[in-house]
Amino acid sequence: MRIQRLQTRIIIFFVALLVLVQVLAFTFVNAANSRNAQTKVEEELNVGQRVFARQLEQNAEKLKLSARVLAADFAFREAIATHDTGTIASVLANHGARIGADAMVFVELDGTVISDTLRPQSEARPFEYPALIKANKNGASASMEVLDGRAFQLVAVPVLAPLPIGWVVMGFAVDDSLARDLRQLTELEVSFALDAPSGWHVLASTLNGDEQKALLADMPARSAKVTRLVMNIEGVDHQALVIPLDDNNNARIVAVLHRSLDSALAAFERLRFTLIVLAGFSLVLSIVGSVAVARSITRPLETLASAAARIEHGDYVEPVNLQRADEIGVLASSLNHMRSGIADRERRILKLAYEDPLTDLANRSRFNNALEQAIAQAAQGTARLTILMMDLDRFKYVNDTLGHGVGDHVLREVSLRLQHTVLGAECIARLGGDEFAILVKHAGETDLTDTARRIISALDTPILYEGQPLDVGTSIGIAHFPEHGNDAQTLVRNADIAMYAAKRNKTGFAVYDPHYDTSQQEHLSLLGELRRAVERNELRLYYQPKVSLHSAHVTAVEALIRWEHPTRGLVPPALFIPFAEHTGYIKLLTRWVIREAVRQCGAWLREGLTLQVSVNISARDLMNRDLPELVAELLAEHDVTPGLLCLEITESGFMEDPVHAQKVLDRLAELGVKLSIDDYGTGYSSLSYIMKLPVQELKIDQSFISRMATDAEISTIVRSTIDLGHNLGLQVVAEGVEDAAVWNMLRTLGCDDAQGYFMSRPLEPAALASWIRANHGTFDCPAAATGTNRVLGAQAR
């Protein structure tokens, strides 16, 4: 377990340190004391031993002296000299009693016992301890010996008459009183023990009976040397000395001197108790002290920590209030500086994080946050939220062709217009690129459509850049909370889907419809099926006639692809062509289209119908170096003259990689294939560049043609475009001609060809052939048919 708190660590450190010191000190003192006590006991024993030995010696000397005096008593000597056994026995008993001897033995010079008060006898016998009487012929000698199973201090003195005539041996019993006397002198417990055949037994002792038993239990083996040992007497350790006393007979008699270790250690125990009390006291003091020290350190740290925590939670208002001169004070002021620094930086970072630096609008993050917050609030009640997603229709072209400076200007201008147009919006954000989003609360459906229309019209006015007008349209997708999604992600996605629907349908804006979503998803499965469509022969080419405005002859047709899906029915090209372009499948599709168109052209030729066939090719096809070879092969295969094939390319098609596109176009032109610029007016291609291309035809986009009847300005643009095309030597074709008025206007303006529902919708090859034959190769303009309202007719491609 790791200890996390500094305070606890400081306390533990100090207390552990002190405990360590205390334990060490205690251990050393304890060991020293223990040693001292041991040494003290040893010394006491040694002193005791010396005193004991000296005392025994003195006892013997005293006894010798007494014995000598007794032996010198004339009457005693006289009685001994009688050689009368009875007299000798009685004088021994009598005189023995005088000096308190417990045994009196008379031994003749030859070592024969004549009389013995302890063991009266009938026959003479040798004395048991001849060494005692031989030791000193003329003086006295003494030793500790056993007589009749008892220990005696034996003293032998010669009886002089005046020459020695024998020895009188006096025995002084070793008894408890002797032991007690010795204890008084030595301050040790004294016991005398005898190693009898039956084992040790106590002769005399200062101990009581039980203690004597304990002593005997611990007695060591017999030894002629002094033995040191520890005895356990009734649960108490005693340091003991076993001293052999009789050197005549294998140390049978020993004195045991011992002292209780406990009594010696008692003083030491008191010291130890004092030490423990002191240790405990200082431990408590140190805990109190270290708590105080730790507090003094950790309390300001806690203040700092809580200040840091406030900063962490984004509260930069309250400063750290810690006026101190020490390091912590320095830290506190650093923290304050840091606090204001972080606050400044956070403001800047927040600005960067949540604002689009280009337009100063909110960015995607802030928009998402605002949306999530709004959803959270709205979820509480029944409030309605709406998001509008929009992008600019031609922004990419502006950016790509005129540069990012112009793009940025457009974005800034759009953001300004949005801010002026959309009032009361919760959040207006630029999500990235040309993508904008608006969050509106509590708006009614009509308010919203109004808002969308106002935005569209606000962006209709061209943006001026260095005096030049730039035209950017927009498409807006609208999604409501909670109908179109319960969370931000779903809402944004669905608004996006609605926006693409609006763009696709060119309706300007669209409110999300679940149908969009499924159709969007259908695209994906369609794409999978499209791969099989060619093999299954589900693709068809429909042909829309181009009619000469000068002669009303039908000389050309535009091939338009159709997909007859076995279950979905007729799938419009807008649903699969863009995806085919994205996936690269368009190459296969184009190959199929050209092949089919050339085949049909050849078939018509053989039927006697000479029609120029136009085929749309995409930008990707222009990147394909093999395209000219393929075209040449197909033309040869179907025996079609190159001039009967026209390839239509959009302006953007050759703007992606102009150098490469130019090469491919040049080679196609060399083959004799006719080239045409499709959807002219929607891009920003410069005319000077177009002049370099080997094109022979210019097709004005239908968005101009459809409005030219009602809009004088557009009409002017169409006219100048026609003039421009003619001046460049190009044939000019108008697309999307839907009524007689436009037909007539175009004729007046000198446009060369026209294409549109007014003349004919795209038809199957057989139907087209029938239509041409029925009209005898010309379009008979029905003047009465003007004003037909076909604003939302199917878009031809």
Binding site: A72, F74, R77, E78, A81, L160, A161, P162, L163, I165
Partner: protein, 202 residues
Amino acid sequence: MAGALKTGFALAIFASGLSCAAATDVTLELRDGSGRPIPDAVVFAEPVAGAAPVVKPNTRALIDQVNKEFVPHVSIVQAGTSVFFPNSDNIRHSIYSFSPAKVFTTKLYSGREAAPITFDQTGLVVLGCNIHDSMVAWVFIVDTPWFAKSGADGIGTLQGLPSGEYKITAAAPALNLPPQVLNLHVDGSAPMHSTISMGAGQ
């Protein structure tokens, strides 16, 4: 003294000027193992056959006490001799004997207060003083007129020994040695001289 203790007796007898009917002196020279003369030793002769002639003993003998010592500390007397114990010291003495040949005790006395003690039994009597343990004296009581005590030269002379067979006894009590006994044929025609060597092993 220690050297003498280790020395036993060795007796060699030299006879010269033998005379059958007449008596003669026998000179005995006592030496220790180292050849040094032994003073204060006693010698006496007893006829092997028959008793010694009854000779009126020198009835008086004297053992003085000078400076807490018996003087002489070795005496030899004929049985029946009375021995006087004058006290030349200015302190009192009390003489005793526990020897079986003569057991007696005197009271404390000074000067010539003590009555003489008659030793009428042969044997060795050891005398002590009851007051002064260091005092010791030896008295040989013999049943023969032929005895002598060696002088400082270790020589004792047995005088007027008639011809015949004798048992010669030599003893040096102060040396604490057992008496030395030997037989000697005495030819009364000439004085005899012999050396008794007292050494170890005897």
